[in-house]
Structures are given as C-alpha cells and as structure tokens.
C-alpha cells in the first residue's frame, strides 16, 4: 500500500513540477500577492496621512498677516505648484477692522466637500481656523480680566484603548486572507490537470486498469495537490516576511510583523485548509467533463472560502465564523498577530470540521472512480 502510494505520489509531483502552468501558478501567487498587498498598504498610507505641508490658495492674505503666520506654523501655506490643493481661503476686506472691533471677522473657505481625497485637508484647515479663533477668544477674555476656562464648561479627555495592533484589524484580515488564499490558488492547476486533465488525455482508464485501489489513486492525488498548495503557502509567507519590512508601518500606527513563529503557525493552521482545498478541487474536477469545465466549476468553489474569509476580516458574526473552516483558522491567525490569546476550542473544532469535510470528499472520490459515469465522463 505505502510503496504504491509512494510511486504514485512521486510521479504526480514530477508531473506537476514539469508542468509550466502549475509552477507558474505557484510562483505568480507567492511573489505577486505579497507585493500587491504592499502596494495596497502604501496606498492606504498615502490616503490616511495628510501631507506635512498643505498648499492652498490664500487670497488677500495682506488683510490678516497674523492669521497667515498662524496657519503657516500649522503647516498650511499659500502655495503654487503641483501639490496645490483645490482649497481657497479668502480673507474679507474688513478682517482687520472687524477683529479690532471684536466683531466676527469673515474668512471664506471654498472647496468641494464631496471630494473624498480633499476631506482630510479641508478638515485640517477648518481645525486650524478654529484653533486660531479660540486662541483669539481666550486673549480677548484675558484682556477683559476673565479666565478663559469659564467658556469651556466641558473638557473632553480621550484615552485611546486600542493597542497599535488592534487598530488595523481589517487590514490584518485582508493580509491574512491573501496568505491563506495561497492554498486555494497554488494547487488549483495541478488539481484540474491530474483529474479532468488525466481523463481528457485518456490516461485515467489506463491508471485504473492497473492493480491499484481507487483509495491509493485518490490519496496520491490529494497529497500531491496539497504539497503544491503548501509549497505555495510557505513561499507566500516568506515573500511576505521580506516584503512587509519595507512598508513604513509607523505611519499607519500598527505593524504586521511576519515573524518566524507566525510562519510556523501559519503553515500549521493552513495545512487542514490546504487538504480541504485540494480534495474539494479534485472532487469538483473529477465531475467536470473537461479541463475547461473544471476551471469554471473551481472558480465557483473559490467563492465560498473567499466569502468566509472576507466576513472574518469585516468582523461579521465572529462567534459563528470562528467554528467554521477557513474563517476559524483565519480568526486564530488574526488573534495571534494582534498579540491576543488564541481561543483553542473553536480552532480545534474548525480544524476537525475541515478534516471531516476532506475525508468525506475523499470517500466520495473513491466511489466516483468506481463509477462508469465518472471514469468515462458520461
């Protein structure tokens, strides 16, 4: 039994390694997805953090030199050139006169509020103007012998309880999803090639004509596809480990540290998922009539784990999802990277469900390979 399984597995692996498409699938994903994630992080950083100098148009600045100096000290300057934002601040003619007389002096802020990209800049200008305004108010009260604190009945003290790591929960979810997804993508091509492809090339009947049990055939194929999937996962983790170091995390306020421990834990937790992904893909492809048809069916099956995983990233129904395949393991990995303790009961249950599903699918395939319909694709 073991000797034959060994022979079968060896041949499956040689076949897979010599198949350019299978190898390229692993490589593209393992190198591409971490780099893509890094790209997304860089974009997020650009979006979240306002540039240090905000260049806007300030009209009639000579009317309020003191305000302009104040804005300058807050990094908001009258500028020209490329990074000039479409925000215009116009100071009224009577600014100085109104100021002197203690009347509200008018400044006009002109900007498109519906423009998402400008929002943070507009807020920043508004905050700066309010800051100037309350500073002026305090000075006026002091000049009249009144403690400025009387016009501040409530003092709000904000204590941020979020640790640096828990802030980026969603981003963690997406990053871990992209890593776990490797086990679905990297083995896929070989899963199709060795089932629907094997039948299409007429070697399936020849294989079944040899003195082997269908269990040996199915197990060898599952092991081969799982090996590819896990190789892809390990590569993805290692490339992520290297690539994530170049992301300037301090600007996002949290870090995704792909530590050695995380790589080991990731491989351990993804193993049951990889086995399930392989059996599922083989199962579906054995029932497809051709390579092309198998590709179509498999893209449907990719959808389910994707949904489970995205739901976990968005923190939807975490109490249910932590017991299920894919989302359970993802939850555990997210907890680990956030520095929280992993809840073992749901993780074990989720692993068990994952493996039971795989066993069910393996038994299904064994049966299918004894049926004329599957063998000849009727």
């Amino acid at each position: 039994m073991m000797k034959l399984l060994n022979t079968l597995l060896k041949k499956e692996l040689v076949d897979a390694i010599r198949d350019k498409r299978s190898v390229m699938a692993v490589m593209y994903y393992a190198i591409g997805s971490p780099l893509l994630m890094c790209g997304i992080f860089f974009m997020l950083i650009n979006k979240f953090s306002s540039p240090s100098d905000l260049n806007i148009t300030i009209k009639k600045s000579q009317n309020a030199p003191d305000l302009v100096r104040y804005l300058e000290s807050r990094g908001i300057t009258h500028g020209t050139g490329e990074d000039l934002k479409a925000i215009t601040l116009t100071i009224s003619h009577d600014f100085a006169k109104d100021m002197n007389q203690g009347k509200p002096a008018t400044v006009t802020l002109i900007a498109d509020n519906s423009e998402q990209k400008l929002k943070s800049s507009i807020n920043r200008v508004q905050r700066a103007l309010q800051g100037y305004s309350s500073e002026m108010a305090s000075l006026r009260l002091i000049a009249r012998g009144i403690n400025p604190a009387v016009v501040q009945p409530i003092k709000v003290v904000m204590e941020d309880q979020a640790t640096k790591q828990s802030k980026g929960s969603f981003i963690f979810g997406v990053a871990i999803l992209s890593i776990i997804y490797a086990v679905f993508i990297c083995g896929m091509n070989h899963a199709i090639d060795t089932s629907a492809g094997e039948r299409e090339r007429n070697s399936l009947t020849l294989l079944l004509s040899h003195p082997l049990s269908t269990r040996q055939i199915v197990l060898s194929k599952v092991l081969a596809v799982t090996t590819l999937a896990m190789t892809g996962l390990l590569l993805t983790l290692l490339v992520s480990k290297a690539a994530y170091t170049i992301v300037p995390w301090q600007e996002l306020g949290f870090t995704i540290n792909v530590s050695f421990e995380f790589v080991v834990l990731g491989c351990l937790l993804a193993l049951p998922i990889a086995i399930m992904a392989s059996t599922l893909q083989l199962f579906v492809s054995f029932f497809a009539k051709s390579f092309k048809e198998a590709q179509t069916y498999i893209s449907f099956t990719l959808f389910v784990p994707m949904m489970l995983s995205i739901a976990t990233s968005y923190d939807l129904a975490p109490d249910t999802l932590q017991w299920l395949p894919v989302s359970g393991q993802q939850q555990a990995l997210m907890d680990f990277i956030k520095g929280k303790a992993i809840d073992m009961a749901p993780l074990m249950a989720s692993n068990l469900i994952t493996l039971l599903l795989s066993i069910g699918l393996i038994l299904g395939m064994e049966k299918a390979l004894k049926s004329e319909k599957t063998i000849f694709g009727l």
């Binding site: 090339r201 007429n202 009947t205 004509s209 082997l212 049990s213």
Partner: protein, 244 residues
Amino acid sequence: MIEVKHLSKRIGDVQALDDLSFKALNGQITGLLGPNGAGKTTCLRTLFGLLQPDDGVAEIDGIDVRKDPIAAKQQLGLFPDPFGLYERLTPREYISYFAELSGLSKAQAKDATERAIQMLKLDDIADRRCKGFSQGQRMKTALAQAIVHQPTNVILDEPTRGLDVMSTRLLRSNLQQLKEQGHCVLFSSHVMQEVAALCDQVIVMAKGKVVAVGSPEKLCEMAGETSLEEAFIKLIGSDEGIAA
C-alpha cells in the same frame, strides 16, 4: 487465459454486450474482430473492471474480475486506445512507473524497463519527454508499458490504428514473440489483414454477440468463401464499419 461467460451490458439504450462468451488461450493470439460499435471496447473494459457487467463473469487466469479486481489485474497488461501517455514523462519513467504500479519492486522495474526498451528498440527516445512523439513512437511506448511486467495476458485495443507499415510490422513481430513465450494475447480490431496475418483464433463479434469462432481458415470454410473479408461480411450479415 482469459475467459468471459455470458456477459451482458446495457449502456443507455444500447445492448452493448449480449450474452457474450469466449475463451482466449495461453500461447495463442486471439483476435476480437467486429465492425465499429460491435462491443469490442466494451468487452475489453469489462475485463479490466472499468465497466461492471449487468450479467455474466469475466475471468483472468481463473480469477473473477469482479470479486478480486486487484489480483486479476496483476495478470493483465493493457495497450489502450488511445494510448494515454504522460507527455511530461520520458518513456523510461513512464514504463517503469507502470511496472511499479503492476507490483514490481523499484529495482525489478528498472531492469524490466531496460529490457522492454531493448526489445522495442526504444533506446534513442527513451529519455526524451513523450510530448511531440510520432504515432509510431507512441505505440512503442504504450506497448512497452503493456508488457513490461511480463503479464500472462496482454490485451490490445485496436493496436495498429494510425500506424505506418514499419510500426505495424514491428508490432506484429512483437506479438508473435509474446505468443512464442506462452502469453495469452487478445486484441480487438476491425482490420481484416491484421487479423488474417496474426491470429490463431478469431472471434467474430457483431451487436454484442459472438457470431463465429475459429481460425481464419476455418472461418472461410464455414462461410464458403475464399477470403476472410468475404467470409466476415457473410458472417456478420453486412459490410458496415469494416476496413479491408
């Protein structure tokens, strides 16, 4: 020895095998001759347990295929139609892979593969990947796979299809050699010449049934014709689906 007794099999609306019985003996070449759609391939697939008969028994060396498929298949070598090569393996890898699957140890498989390569004169292509092989090269690789583990029984499904004269001759001489070594050779064909030239026993099939059994000469005698072709047409009652 291969023996089928009262095999019946329905596929969809077609009665592919209809109470089929025959025997193929060791040290003989037996031809399964019939027009396209006579049930030849269905019959061979039943021998390998790929199809389950509705009724009847298929035995390899006295082992019921249905009861002990693994033991039965160990006594069989298959030359399939189509060949089912793995294009990314070399013939050497391919042949030795199937030798190991047929139960040989790694070392035995290596020796047996070398022997098969020598026998079929595959040396020049033995270590090239099968992708892009000519029909003749594919045939030789497939045949080497079928005989590498020296099974008592060798089954060939339409072996000469698409082969040129040289390859056909090589195949014939190899089948003769197997016969002399005492193997039981069973092949299906719808090509007259091939059957007339090779077979000790011809089983004429039509519509899933055995129509006549005997040596080519005996069949001619039975039909009262001088050529096997004429005899064949007379026996099956039509000239549909026959290649001369």
